[in-house]
């Protein structure tokens, strides 16, 4: 071997050794993802089987689409699917614009210290678990000695006050409003950062041209935000079927289950409480496939609009 070949060989050995290290470092993460993420995907096969705890994954007999037929025939599943769509769409329609509106409003606050204080306050609920928020809802809306009841009584209201937390007619509103309350402030971090990046000379030029505040808001602030808004919207639409298990599980109760039960909470009840593993897996698979399809479609659209964006 010539000297050049030797040094090449040495370099190869060195980089092979390096790569070996890299793969070795990846190993724990890969093991994790295979065991806790991909093994369950293999477990989806029980949606097409009649799973028996005694026979296990592989020995349980195949039944084709029987579980799905049974599932779609169940009134509780249809109800959960309906609720899932309604709640998911409501959260999208109201939850998406809220942080934009809040950011535009915050942007109009002149005093920086006030602006920061308000933003700090409205982001706070984002860090609180739904279980605790359930407790706060109870403290605010409870009919025995809740804050709102007390205030209404103080102002002399003697009529009946509905228990919003146990009332089918109002519970969807509770779901939506508590969701807006918790998550409304969070995305203002992104929008305000984008607004801060807008060239200030645009506003100065507009003022000289005699543009009013509203015109500036429309033509400068909002049109500068448009790419951010469009991207976040597309991503958000992809997640529309995610109606929020954490929230529903934490704040709903048996009195309102008919308007609050979503697919994921239904999967929990069917699987963990009724022990119908196969049907529950089928229900979960159904919603996950819809979710995956939506994400792929919206991601495709996002990439068409802006090749740099998108998830991957």
């Amino acid at each position: 071997m010539t000297g050049a070949q030797i040094s090449l060989w040495k370099r190869f050995c060195k980089s092979a050794r390096q790569y070996w290290w890299f793969y070795f470092m990846l190993l724990p993460g890969l093991i994790y993802i295979v065991v806790f993420r991909y093994a369950p995907m293999y477990g989806i096969t029980i949606a097409f089987k009649n799973y028996s705890v005694f026979k296990g994954f592989d020995a349980s007999p195949w039944v084709g689409f029987d579980n799905f037929t049974k599932l779609f025939g169940r009134a509780a599943f249809q109800r959960a699917l309906y609720n899932n769509v309604i709640i998911g769409v409501e959260k999208l329609i109201f939850g998406f614009p809220l942080p934009i509106i809040l950011s535009l409003m915050l942007n109009e606050v002149r005093k920086n210290s006030l602006k920061r204080t308000i933003q700090t306050a409205i982001i706070l609920p984002n860090f609180i678990s739904w279980i605790v928020i359930n407790g706060l809802l109870f403290a605010m809306l409870g009919t025995n000695n809740g804050a709102i009841v007390g205030v209404m009584r103080f102002f002399g209201y003697v009529g009946e006050i509905p228990n919003l937390l146990a009332d089918k007619e109002h519970f969807r509103a509770v779901i939506l409003l508590s969701y807006l309350w918790k998550s409304g402030g969070y995305a203002t971090i992104i929008y305000l950062a984008a607004i801060a990046g807008i060239d200030q000379s645009l506003y100065e030029a507009a003022e000289i041209d005699g543009a009013g505040r509203l015109q500036q808001l429309w033509h400068i602030t909002l049109s500068s935000l448009r790419p951010t808004i469009v991207m976040l919207l597309i991503m958000r639409v992809g997640e529309v079927m995610n109606a929020g298990f954490d929230q529903i599980y934490a704040i709903s109760n048996y009195l309102v289950v008919s308007v609050a039960d979503i697919i994921e909470t239904y999967v929990y009840t069917l699987g963990m409480e009724s022990r119908k593993f196969s049907e529950a897996t089928a229900a979960g698979l159904f919603i996950n496939v819809i979710g995956l399809t939506l994400v792929l479609i919206t991601n495709h659209i996002a990439k068409k609009i802006d090749p740099e964006s998108g998830l991957m």
């Binding site: 390096q18 290290w21 890299f22 470092m25 990846l26 724990p28 993460g29 994790y32 993802i33 065991v35 806790f36 991909y38 369950p40 995907m41 477990g43 989806i44 029980i46 606050v109 308000i118 306050a121 409205i122 982001i123 706070l124 860090f127 609180i128 678990s129 279980i131 605790v132 407790g135 706060l136 109870f138 403290a139 605010m140 025995n144 000695n145 009841v149 007390g150 205030v151 009584r153 103080f154 309350w181 402030g185 971090i189 992104i190 934490a250 109760n253 994921e264 999967v267 929990y268 699987g271 963990m272 529950a280 897996t281 979960g284 996950n288 979710g291 995956l292 740099e308 998830l311 991957m312």
Partner: protein
């Protein structure tokens, strides 16, 4: 007047000033709604139960007393639940962070053969999952049900957080790493000595993501454990709030609690589980914000 700045020279008209006041008012109302409930619960918990019965707003405690805290902390379960949440948060966060950084580092190495395929393997789990029941069955097959492992391992790595770290690693100047490699350093040494020390901001942000997630999570505890010895604070709180007569179980241990209402006990339990988050909030907010902004950069 000629010398004032241009911004001030343009006089705000009356409707504009009214509009501004309305905006500030609306924002203040929203800010009040997101902060007052916490204050309410804290004040209620240290108020005398009889006085608190009438409800309404609590700007100050009524007949302050700590008797409900005394009663709550005389039960054993609150310490078990608190302890479980604390070790779950500490160990879970450290493990998650270590595993995320360890995984992110090779995936950030652009020359690594198979890097794209490996990234896809992790990325796909963000799009699709086996779902609750198959995951439960896997955890069951592993014999983890009712073990402390079940509270940590099933969700120890978030692909999303890992990619945020990877994106950050990719932005670092590659010359630093390369010169270390030329000096014969191995990848783990480079990660530990060179990359991690300059990645403090993103690690802090991710520690917050994982920490808050661990503290607030409850589904793993509900799904994978049955025994009270593994109960976490969130599940303890949920059971306490949603059950009528929870008072009896607590009063049974606490003794004389005739003057203590179930509501006061519930408010106390809520306070006890939310105070640590409120104390940590200023830090959380700072690092969260930086985490989101960095995470938004695609790699």
């Amino acid at each position: 007047m000629l010398f004032v700045s241009r911004r001030k020279r343009i006089q705000r008209s009356v409707p504009e000033r009214v509009g501004n006041a309305v905006i500030v008012l609306i924002l203040l109302l929203f800010a009040f709604s997101t902060t007052y409930p916490f204050w309410h619960v804290l004040m209620y918990s240290i108020s005398d139960s009889g006085q608190a019965m009438s409800g309404g707003l609590f700007f100050l405690p009524r007949d302050p007393t700590l008797v409900s805290y005394d009663v709550l902390f005389r039960t054993k379960q609150i310490f078990i639940a608190y302890g479980n949440t604390i070790w779950k948060t500490l160990i879970g966060t450290v493990l998650s962070l270590a595993l995320s950084a360890l995984t992110a580092f090779p995936l950030a190495h652009r020359k690594l053969p198979g890097r794209n395929l490996l990234s896809m393997v992790f990325f796909f789990t963000m799009l699709f999952s086996g779902g609750m029941i198959p995951t439960y069955l896997v955890v069951q097959q592993l014999g983890m049900i009712d073990t402390p492992w079940a509270l940590i391992l099933p969700n120890v790595l978030s692909a999303y957080n890992m990619f945020i770290i990877r994106n950050y690693f990719q932005q670092l100047p590659s010359s630093l790493e390369e010169s270390a490699f030329i000096d014969g350093a191995t990848p783990p040494v480079v990660l530990w000595r060179i990359v991690l020390p300059i990645s403090a901001p993103i690690l802090a942000a991710n520690a917050m993501f994982y920490g808050v997630g661990n503290w607030n999570s409850y589904l793993d505890c509900i799904l994978y454990t049955n025994s009270n010895t593994l109960q976490t604070l969130q599940v303890y709180l949920r059971n306490l709030i949603s059950s009528v007569g929870s008072m009896d179980s607590i009063a049974g241990v606490g003794g004389a609690t005739a003057s203590l209402s179930e509501e006061t006990i519930k408010m106390t339990a809520i306070s006890v589980s939310v105070i640590p988050v409120l104390v940590a909030y200023p830090f959380l907010q700072r690092y969260y914000a930086s985490g989101i902004t960095v995470g938004a950069v695609k790699g």
